[in-house]
Symmetry: C2
């Protein structure tokens, strides 16, 4: 059993390789729901959906969100009624959100709704929201506290970030299966996702960090920071705004309490000694650094990266 | 002030002519909501929407429902989750239903939601649902009681109709303004809509028939039956199934308690003496028959028909 902590598109791409290396039914994916939003009267879970669509082979991989070939008739028509147009929810993507919202309004938990959706998309891997509670991430900027999707999509992640706030996280429980999936895994992988707003909310859920610290399996992370920049998204700027270095090394520091292996890109090979030295910080024994190609432009790179990560965790597929 | 009782596409086409002959703000349209359905977690009001789209100039006039050029991505994607596909709700049409459903879930009445939608579509005429309560029409067939839209759309109106049932109608109140709009109008027109399932539900709402009987204005109906057939829809078969003749004369009989003028098509001119003789049935004085072109293929015919109806009601635009 392999457990992956996942944010958005970087995680989804990594998972596409992973499901070719291990039986998908052996995989549990714990997904960030801090990006969730209520819009058009619907519950939208962008990170869950990006994982669903990538694993179902339906994703618009170039764009990194939504369904390939989707159209935008409904969101454009909703503008007439005064709804915001900055969140580009495609027409087929909307069907997923309609079904999720109907399941939730009929009393399903987000876990149950996610399992329904995964089945409908013929996905064998188990996909768990980090929590069944609504814990929307908010970003404190010079204009005040802004909902994450508005910060990210409407405002183009251009604001200086003073603080990141996981609204309601202190009262949120992990979704059923989350802590067990970490505790009982043979390997745990933290996908190459933004450590602050994608993995950060998962780590902030009650019990998750303790489960990681106490996990019997080794824990690897793939750095989303390559050559001092994020492959996609605002991670590098957010890190700098909050006083962190935008470097693969920061990933080891942020995950120091539980990390065993950090996978960094070839371009960051020179950082390896510095990162290995961080083992002194770690609450667990040692910190291996693995250097490989992490730019997942092709399916071959995705599969090779998955294989490298599994090997570093002593998993033989 | 002119008040029109309206069903679906026949009414919508008639209204397109009428708004060219009278100031739209002088017009109140009381619309059948017996066709309403709950589907995809949304409240769909097909007859209200067909009126909205025709008056907004957005209707697919050839097809007689929905928005011209609309696509069907969302309903097709919903099929994956097990939703029925027989109700073809277009992607832009869906936006209307999403907004209506959100307004209703926020506590608006259907009247208020309809007024919102009409404003968003820049419609000056006042559009009132017959009732704010959900009173779905059901059709009793050999397979039992079937929801109207399933009878009509899914099953293609092919079942033998034993009875028509307006579910909950005895407890339903007319929407605010409905009875006053009838009582205070200078003219009342019953649009060329199915008398059983489009106008029938409106007449079944408490107080509507009494308001028509007591109205100070003259009341005209345009026959939807031409040459023994319905211009569109199952009215003729339904009439025959229920033991009525499928003839323009039946319209006069069904509306005998309050009708002053029946407008019939040129092809039915020979029926005029028989219909005029029905004045003996009428609770009101006399029954005029006006013979004209009622096949509203062009905007010129629609305008001419509106002008003829208004003239028969002594209204000079």
């Amino acid at each position: 059993m392999i457990t992956v902590l996942a944010g958005g598109v970087g995680a989804a791409r990594f998972l596409q390789g992973l499901v070719k290396e291990v039986p998908p039914q052996d995989l549990t994916i714990i997904v960030n729901t801090g990006d969730d939003l209520e819009l058009f009267g619907l519950h939208i879970s962008p990170d869950i959906d990006i994982v669903l669509y990538h694993l179902a082979g339906l994703a618009d991989e170039a764009r990194g969100w939504g369904i390939a070939g989707d159209t935008f008739q409904t969101v454009e028509a909703l503008a007439r009624f005064g709804y915001p147009t900055w969140f580009r929810l495609g027409d087929r993507d909307l069907a997923t959100c309609i079904h999720r919202s109907n399941l939730l309004s009929e009393g399903s938990t987000l876990s149950e709704a996610t399992a329904h959706l995964a089945r409908a998309f013929d996905i064998q891997a188990r996909i768990l929201p980090m929590s069944n509670e609504y814990v929307p991430t908010k970003v404190e900027t010079e204009d005040g506290l802004i909902d994450f999707q508005r910060f990210m999509v409407e405002r183009g992640a251009k604001d200086h970030v003073r603080r990141i706030h996981f609204h309601g996280i202190h009262d949120a429980q992990p979704a059923p299966g989350v802590l067990n999936a970490i505790a009982e895994a043979n390997a745990v992988v933290i996908a190459p996702s933004n450590p602050l707003v994608s993995i950060g909310p998962i780590l902030a859920v009650s019990g998750v960090v303790d489960a990681l610290k106490e996990a019997r399996a080794r824990i690897a992370a793939v750095s989303p920071i390559v050559g001092g920049a994020a492959i996609k998204g605002p991670a590098a700027n957010m890190l700098r705004d909050l006083g962190y270095e935008a470097s693969a090394a920061i990933i080891a520091k942020l995950y120091a309490d539980f990390l065993d292996v950090l996978v960094i890109d070839n371009v960051d090979a020179a950082l390896a000694p510095e990162i290995r030295a961080l083992r002194l910080l770690a609450g667990r024994q040692g910190l291996d650094v693995v250097i490989t190609d992490t730019i997942m432009k092709t399916v071959e790179v995705k599969v090779a990266l998955a294989r490298t990560v599994l090997a570093a965790l002593d998993i033989r597929p």
